[in-house]
């Protein structure tokens, strides 16, 4: 049900698109992917949530771990296509203070 549907390099970014409920499982898929890519010196990620309309706080807290990993490398996490309730949730948590957020993928890539 929940999965990563594509990963793609563009400019300096690795674009990760997910599908379905952003729960613990999907969070763990994302953090593994980030860890692998950090080993290959890729530190800038864009998470496209267009197909993930719903999260839970366990998935969200794994994104905090992702931010922690990327902060050590002066990397960045960008988020785009967040559903309104996801944006609200991440903003209540303060997560959006540590991410770049964009409406569209185009804007995220052009940052």
């Amino acid at each position: 049900m929940s999965k990563i549907i594509s990963t793609e390099e563009h400019n300096n970014f690795l674009i990760v698109k997910t599908e379905g409920y952003f729960n613990k499982d999907l969070g763990e898929l994302v953090i593994s992917l980030v860890e692998e890519n950090v080993k290959e010196n890729k530190y800038h990620f864009i998470l496209d949530l267009e197909q993930s309309k719903i999260v839970n706080s366990i998935g969200a807290s794994i994104l905090i771990e992702v931010i922690e990993i990327l902060q050590e490398k002066d990397g960045s996490l960008s988020l785009c296509h967040m559903a309104p309730i996801i944006e609200k949730t991440f903003s209540i948590m303060g997560l959006t203070k540590y991410c770049n957020t964009f409406k569209s993928l185009e804007e995220a890539v052009a940052q």
Partner: protein
């Protein structure tokens, strides 16, 4: 609507992976029926995900969870009931992302805070026979 005639929906769900989405999807249908805004509907769904996951994870019980939705003209009242070990809801620390990032704290601990931020009223009754969370969302008439 008098107290006796308020319609209500009840769910009994087992502790299985992603089963909290049954609660969320039910809330979506009820929110549409009540003509709540998309914003309110999203907030209810998110709060309900967190409440149901907490009942699943922290009750430390194998027993099914009960969720009750009571519909009235001006608000939706939701109860999430587990038959688990209970907890002291007053003693829950407010999470802070800055200290989670700087002090390498445990990253979790957001559920109760999100529920309180997203709903209009939140009340925990908890003891060693379980926890009942009662939360409401008011219908705003624009």
């Amino acid at each position: 609507m008098s107290k006796e005639t308020k319609p209500s929906v009840e769910l009994r769900i087992p502790i299985l992976k992603d089963m909290e989405l049954v609660a969320t999807n039910t809330a979506d249908v009820i929110a549409k029926y009540m003509e709540l805004s998309d914003e309110a509907s999203g907030e209810i769904s998110m709060a309900l995900i967190e409440a149901t996951i907490n009942a699943f994870e922290h009750s430390e019980s194998q027993k099914d969870i009960f969720i009750n939705f009571t519909i009235s003209d001006d608000e939706l009242t939701i109860k999430v009931i587990d038959k688990g070990k209970g907890f002291d809801s007053e003693g829950i620390q407010i999470p802070d992302i800055d200290s989670k990032l700087k002090k390498q704290e445990r990253k979790r601990g957001w559920g109760v805070m999100l529920i309180k931020e997203l709903m209009d009223s939140v009340d925990y009754e908890s003891g060693n026979d379980g926890t009942t969370l009662t939360m409401t969302k008011k219908k705003k008439n624009e």
